[in-house]
């Protein structure tokens, strides 16, 4: 067994845990360095969740209730890849988001914006053999939060991925291109410049369906394997 089965992230790929402009990090981030673990079976295995049965409506957030939700219908499609561009086939992709008015269907969200009885905001999809996944949803709204004066989160969709191993687990957020709020968002900006742009989906006319919905492409890249040494 090699001791470094998965490549390590390089400085600049991920946020710094303590990012004080995002105030919640101050009370919730470790100050000591993480202990680097050689890769044993514990790190290179992980849940496949292959037995999770997905209902047909799970990747279409506009078809989960009695009627269609309000808002701008969108298609979010992309591929789950590793750093070598190899598809992560069969990957479970989970998303959650607020409604078009900027309110989550969640008891903790007390933003004074309407709930939409036709929108829960949660979805799951399984990537195909090419790593391709697809969701139909509505564009989430921006919403205020109390991080600082006049703080607003840019529209975003939360993504959760497992990949092939415990080491490849990732939770992230997808943003929309050219959102003026990105420049003011300390969560987006916690990722170093040069990397944060990867969190913006691309508007894609080829994915856009006439008379129906705008298309956005969002590819997700998980850690790749180190080259296998000669044996």
């Amino acid at each position: 067994m090699k001791e470094e089965t998965y490549r390590r992230a390089t400085a600049g790929d991920h946020p710094t845990n303590l990012s004080p402009d995002y105030k919640s990090t101050v009370g919730r981030s470790p100050r000591k360095s993480a202990v680097v673990l050689p890769h044993s079976l514990s790190e290179i295995t992980g849940p496949s969740l292959a037995n999770e049965r997905l209902d047909a409506s799970e990747n279409d957030l506009t078809k989960q209730r009695m009627a269609e939700p309000l808002g701008e219908r969108i298609i979010v499609q992309g591929r789950v890849l590793d750093q070598d561009g190899k598809p992560v086939s069969g990957a479970l992709v989970e998303i959650w988001q607020c409604n078009a008015a900027g309110r989550y269907h969640h008891p903790g969200d007390q933003h004074d914006a309407p709930l939409d009885p036709n929108f829960y905001g949660g979805g799951r999809a399984r990537a195909d053999a090419d790593g391709r996944y697809k969701f139909v949803t509505i564009k989430p709204g921006a919403y205020p939060w109390k991080n600082h004066h006049n703080a607003w989160r840019p529209a975003h969709i939360h993504f959760s991925l497992f990949g092939p191993a415990f080491a490849t687990r990732l939770i992230t957020q997808m943003y929309f291109p050219n959102d003026p709020l990105l420049a003011f968002d300390p969560i987006y900006k916690s990722v170093p410049a040069g990397a944060r742009e990867r969190l913006q989906a691309a508007f894609d006319m080829d994915l856009t369906q006439p008379e129906w919905a705008l298309g956005y492409r969002f590819d997700i890249v998980l850690r790749g394997r180190n080259a296998t040494p000669m044996e």
Binding site: M1, E3, D13, H14, P15, N17, S19, Y22, S24, T25, G27, R28, S29, P30, R31, K32, A34, V35, V36, L37, P38, H39, S40, L41, S42, I44, T45, P47, L49, D82, Q83, D84, E94, W96, Y104, H105, H106, G108, Y120, G121, G122, G123, R124, H158, S160, F166, R169, L170, I171, T172, Q173, Y188, S190, V191, A195, R196, R198, D219, I220, V221
Partner: protein
């Protein structure tokens, strides 16, 4: 060609029900081999206050020490109905409870075996990157020879070792920071 990694972001406070409730915190239905155990993880912030809006995930081998994963090719039994994965959000008191079996020992790349352990991921508002740690079992004779614990300075090893309460439940507080900061691993 190398593709650039997708950066991590916080799970936020409003993680949708599907991402927590879809997976049972009971990993071991009737018939799964092994010693049945209850594990309670409790999440604290740097000041010691409980974190009521976090999420714990666990990943572990079965009682024979085999991971349910194609990478584990050893000739050990797999248990039907036991994947080894669990997820649960924290309650208002900062705790998540899992019912599972005590994992067996798994090998170490340089040789030998690791002490029984559960791999733990932590997510929360204010946590920008997944935090990874391990839960070991107090009193296990294999602790003394565990190669991962040996990578940790002796004074901090206790942050990884669950202790049994009067009901036999295994308890492990996880401190995101502060004087009792848990040891987190770069996996």
């Amino acid at each position: 060609m190398s593709h650039a990694l997708t950066p991590s972001q916080t799970i936020g406070p409003f993680y949708w029900g599907t991402i927590v409730n879809a997976y049972h915190a009971d990993l071991a239905p009737t018939g799964v081999a092994g010693e049945r155990i209850e594990v309670v993880l409790k999440l604290h912030d740097v000041d010691g206050a409980v974190v009521p809006d976090g999420v714990f995930e666990i990943w572990q081998a079965n009682s024979h020490g085999r991971y349910n994963h194609p990478e584990d090719r050893r000739n050990l039994p797999l248990d039907a109905g036991f994947e080894g994965y669990g997820r649960a959000g924290t309650f208002t008191d900062g705790t998540s409870r899992f019912t599972t079996v005590k994992p067996g020992r798994v090998p170490w790349p340089a040789g030998g075996l690791q002490a029984p352990h559960i791999n733990v991921s932590i997510f929360a508002r204010g946590v920008l990157n997944r935090l990874a740690t391990r839960l070991y079992f107090d009193g296990d004779p294999a602790l003394a020879e565990d190669p991962v614990l040996k990578l940790v300075e002796p004074g901090r090893r206790d942050t990884l070792i669950a202790k049994r309460d009067g009901n036999g439940t295994w308890l492990l507080p996880i401190h995101l920071g502060g004087p009792n900061e848990t040891v987190f691993f770069d996996v």
